[in-house]
Amino acid sequence: MSTLAAPTSSSTSVRGDVPAVEVRNLTKVFRRRDRKAGRFARRRLPALQNVSFTIERGECVAILGQNGSGKSTLVRLLSTLLLEDGGEARVFGHDVFSEARTIRRLVNRVSVEASFFKKMSAQENLSYAARFYGMPPSVTRTAIPAILEKVGFPPDRRTESMQNLSRGMQQKVALARALLTSPVLLLLDEPTTGLDPRSKLEVQEFIRDVRRTHDATILLCTHDMAEAEALADRIGLLDRGELLFLEPVDDVRRRYGVQTLEQAFFAATGREFEEEHADDELREVYG
């Protein structure tokens, strides 16, 4: 179990008799300008269409998809940063949209961009962020050095501006920020995209370590098929807002009679994984 302090009220909000995540017919539609149809014309672009799945407590589930497939929209909906246009989502039995305050105590995330105040140091960024989760200085004084050490962040660089750190280092601090608040649901949105191979392996190893040592459920959204296969218990494929399947990787291979996930994607969609259309680019609300 984690040695880090948990947010005061989260333990009472985690029900043991319900799945960690339940999503039923979740739909999100964005409207974008359609110049071809006229100056003020708008076009409906469904980012998610009737997506349904369940994640059990302690499970690590990977959602694969191309750019614009709806992965980031799904993560943002579960993070209470978007409102749904249909369907429902529950985290440990709590409605994501009507019980947002409760959900926020349970969830944290790491996104493709590390997202910090760049002039501030890792320690300062973690410190103020922890306060938002009710962690006082007496707790963070020991918790921040501990978590930074755990992610392999050099102690002598804790007070250095974030802008001087490499992408890999910044992403380690992002992981530390997410884990500092001991979330029971960790949302990872392309956490290793853009990292050099060594940093990528370190982050992946840390995610494995989190699974071993924390009571955390993980939803990993990625377009890296090898990463999904290496880290997740089950793999889902999100294609243009639709969840085509979500099952263990061996079941995926058996279902399509293929050897690799690339082949499974082709069998499910009739397209190569790298192949993208103009619509996919338009659909990419969160690049």
């Binding site: 005061t8 305050r101 105040f117 501030m120 410190s127 009710g134 969160y286």
Partner: protein, 273 residues
């Protein structure tokens, strides 16, 4: 500790987090703040020197310079509050932290309140430096000044300013590109009807009616009286400020909530670029 007590404690720690973050940023941008302070002093001098160009007695000239200075200092103070409140969203969008702040379990009251509290503290420090720098530079005589009353009135007025600032802080949520600039439009409009460098009585009647709704009207009137004549806190200036604050804060929060819901529906709660 009861559940309510634990929640309140957590919320206050969150408010402290906002203040803490702004302290870190102020330290990191200290030299920029010094440069900005020099610009503010220069800008204020351009206004206060007008008193030197008016051919009246030395005493009248001193009074006019003091009144202009109070107007310029309150303009600068209000500018800081509006800037911090409007930048609540704009700055975080630029740095990319907006999503992490808005998905954190801190209430919007504490989030915006923390931003406002820091703005008032920082604004008061800057206003004090600005005031005394210009007094020394121009050589203004203020032997009767009641600084305690002036500070107290400005602090009371700050409650209303924060409430109105909450209303403007929603603008970058609605328009990521131009929202922040609109906050300065609101600041300018508020001061123009409040008699920033002139008595309210010189304005058209309809503007005088609007001036009664502006907290800056009472702050300017009261602070001028305290600095020029040494007047203490006057209830006639205090009660309108308290009433405006009582309405402005909940209205500001409600407007911000509507803006946040709009941003969540349209997918605008995201980083720039």
């Amino acid at each position: 500790m009861t559940a309510i007590g634990a929640t309140m404690r957590s919320e206050l720690i969150g408010l402290g987090g906002i203040v803490e973050r702004n302290v870190y940023l102020t330290k990191r941008y200290f030299l920029w703040d010094v440069a900005f302070m020099i610009w503010t002093i220069a800008n204020t001098l351009t206004i206060v020197f007008i008193a030197r160009a008016v051919h009246v007695s030395a005493a009248a000239e001193n009074t006019l310079a003091t009144k202009l200075l109070v107007g310029a200092v309150i303009w600068a103070f209000l500018g800081i509050i509006f800037e911090f409140m409007t930048e609540t969203v704009a700055w975080e969008r630029w740095e990319g932290t907006i999503e992490y702040t808005f998905m954190a379990p801190i209430s919007r009251v504490m989030h915006l309140g923390g931003q406002g509290a820091f703005a008032v503290l920082y604004g008061l420090i800057r206003a004090t430096i600005l005031f005394f720098a210009v007094v020394a530079f121009i050589g203004i005589h203020i032997p009767n000044a009641n600084f305690g009353a002036a500070f107290a009135l400005l602090a009371i007025a700050s409650l209303s300013f924060i409430g109105i600032g909450m209303m403007t802080s929603v603008l970058p949520l609605i328009s990521p590109e131009k929202g922040a600039q609109l906050g300065f439009v609101a600041q300018g409009l508020m001061l123009v009807v409040s008699g920033v460098y002139y008595p309210v009585s010189v304005m058209p009647h309809w503007m005088q009616l609007i001036s009664k709704l502006s907290p800056a009207t009472y702050a300017l009137r009261g602070d001028r009286a305290s600095i020029v004549s040494g007047t203490g806190l006057v209830w006639a200036d205090v009660w309108p400020l308290l009433i405006i604050a009582a309405f402005a804060t909940p209205i500001g929060l409600a407007i911000f909530h509507r803006g946040e819901q709009h941003a969540k529906r349209k997918g605008k709660l995201k980083r720039s670029g």
